[in-house]
């Protein structure tokens, strides 16, 4: 089972992607809910808010403890910041992957953008990338591989146990990164093959997890 850290941010978007891969996604709010997960996703949101909530809830220690027991971690956007060993100008939170990140590195919301790129290790087809007030990975340390570099910054990287992207794979129809993470966790998915685009995904798909009327 893969958990999604449910403190703030794009939680349901990840649950939706996991469901499309036939994986059971679990919302994780408290330390008691984290045991026996193959992996956990730390979603996008505001990293300062998540940092604070991780600290006061005891989730920070719980994640580190489970990580040491073999749980894999996937951080998107704010999640990547929280996992980084070095955050420029700020103290790190979980420090579980040797990368240096700069927060909010592109500017304001008007600098948010969408593009596509080939990430050969993850998919044989171009993957859609959504950058929202994104950070940049500036440097990587030993034991960390670059998955995608664009210009002078790194957009996706991994160590044997941690996957990070500065963009939001959960905000587009491709399931490639989530499948890649599932494999990293040793899990099989129901969707395999060359194209990981799910034609039934659309920008409103998240709402099925947040209905007010049924």
């Amino acid at each position: 089972m893969i958990g999604v850290l449910d403190l703030q941010g794009g939680v349901v978007e990840h649950l939706d992607h996991l469901k499309r891969l036939g994986l059971a996604g679990l919302r994780v709010k408290k330390p008691s809910e984290i045991s026996n997960l193959a992996g956990i996703i730390i979603p996008g949101g505001e990293s300062t808010c998540l940092f604070r909530l991780l600290t006061i809830s005891g989730m920070k220690e719980a994640i580190v403890r489970e990580f040491q027991q073999g749980m894999k971690i996937f951080g998107t956007c704010a999640g990547a910041i929280l996992l980084a060993k070095t955050v420029i100008g700020e103290s790190p939170c979980l420090a579980l992957i040797d990368i240096e990140v700069e927060r909010n590195s592109f500017g304001s919301q008007m600098d948010s953008f969408f593009c596509e790129a080939l990430v050969p290790r993850v998919s044989s087809m171009p993957v859609p990338l959504t950058f929202i007030r994104a950070p940049k990975i500036k440097k990587i340390g030993p034991g960390v591989d670059i998955l995608l570099k664009i210009g002078n910054y790194i957009a996706a990287a991994e160590s044997p146990d941690v996957l990070v992207t500065i963009f939001h794979p959960e905000l587009a129809g491709s399931l490639a990164f989530h499948r890649y993470f599932a494999h990293k966790c040793g899990l099989k998915t129901i969707k395999e093959g060359r194209s990981m685009d799910d034609p039934t995904w659309n920008a409103k798909s998240w709402t099925q997890f947040a209905r007010v009327a049924d």
Binding site: G9, V11, C49, I56, T130
Partner: protein, 293 residues
């Protein structure tokens, strides 16, 4: 605004879900809000409680002050433009803040038209009292909705009323046969296509926060349990006895809204909340929620 830009703007609001957006009037307050765990700040010269007290015409804040707040924090910065004042919105877009609130808290500049938000690249959040109002704002290009509540009162009753109204109308839409939707949309002034979308999705097609009168962790958790996606706190924090502590408490109560023990913990030892106002004591002409349509 092209379709993809609009989608990105809706998606920024999605990343704010489960979070608290706080009104701040200077860089120091913005820092306090950020450290407490706010997901964004609303930069304005006077909080609604003071606007209400001072009277007169309330306009967009001084851009110098908004720019200073923008420099002092790394979380998104929002600012308010008057309803229909598209030039104030152009200025805020040129300032490159992250989100514009076309807000009834300021004195409306146009009693007939709201801003045509489709002309902008920057995202807008707009207030609404019911489903029709929310869908009309979305039709104009709003990427996020919030309840109007009654700002500056510290009284949550209007936010509850607006949230319940939206939920009730969505439930009615979901449960009615298709042939009744046109009449329902006509009566409520709903744009028909968006009414169909809300019916299909069982909710608004964009993120919907609660705003207007939220003053305590319990208020925040109440609004979250009623189904909103996050919380705006205006006067409630910096008009209270211990703003930093209250700000942190409201962030916790919003994240753990379904957990009474956590909300209890967050509610303890906060000191005085902001003074509250009974809605019926406010003359009709001074009620802010009635501004805009």
């Amino acid at each position: 605004m092209d379709k993809k830009r609009y989608e990105l703007n809706v998606q920024l609001a999605q990343m704010l879900k489960g979070g608290v957006i706080m009104d701040v009037t200077n860089a120091q307050q913005a820092k306090i809000a950020e450290e407490a765990g706010a997901v964004a700040v609303m930069a304005l010269e006077r909080v609604p409680a003071d606007i209400r007290k001072d009277g007169g015409v309330a306009r967009m804040s001084d851009p110098t002050m908004i720019a200073e707040i923008k420099r002092s924090v790394s979380i998104p910065v929002m600012a308010k433009a008057r309803i229909g004042h598209f030039v104030e919105a152009q200025i805020l877009e040129a300032l490159k803040i992250d989100y514009i609130d076309e807000s009834e808290v300021l004195t409306p500049a146009d009693e007939e038209c709201h801003i045509d938000k489709t002309k902008f690249s920057i995202p807008f959040v707009c207030g609404a009292r019911n489903l029709g109002e929310a869908l009309r704002r979305i039709a104009e290009g709003a990427a996020m909705i919030r309840t109007k509540g009654e700002a500056g009162t510290g009284n949550v009753v209007e936010a509850v009323r607006h949230m319940r109204a939206m939920n009730r109308e969505i439930r009615q839409l979901v449960n009615m046969p298709l042939e009744e939707v046109v009449g329902f949309a006509k009566a409520g002034g709903f744009p028909y296509e968006l009414a169909l979308e809300a019916r299909k999705l069982g909710r608004l097609p964009v993120v919907n926060f609660a705003a207007g009168g939220i003053a305590t962790p319990a208020d925040a958790a109440l609004m979250m349990q009623l189904g909103c996606d996050g919380i705006f706190v205006g006067s409630g924090i910096f008009k209270s006895a211990d703003p930093a502590k209250r700000a942190r408490a409201i962030v916790i109560a919003t994240a753990y809204f379904n957990d009474p023990l956590k909300v209890l913990e967050a509610s303890m030892g906060l000191g005085e909340a902001m003074p509250g106002l009974e809605i019926s004591d406010i003359p009709e002409a001074q009620r802010l929620a009635g501004r805009g349509w």
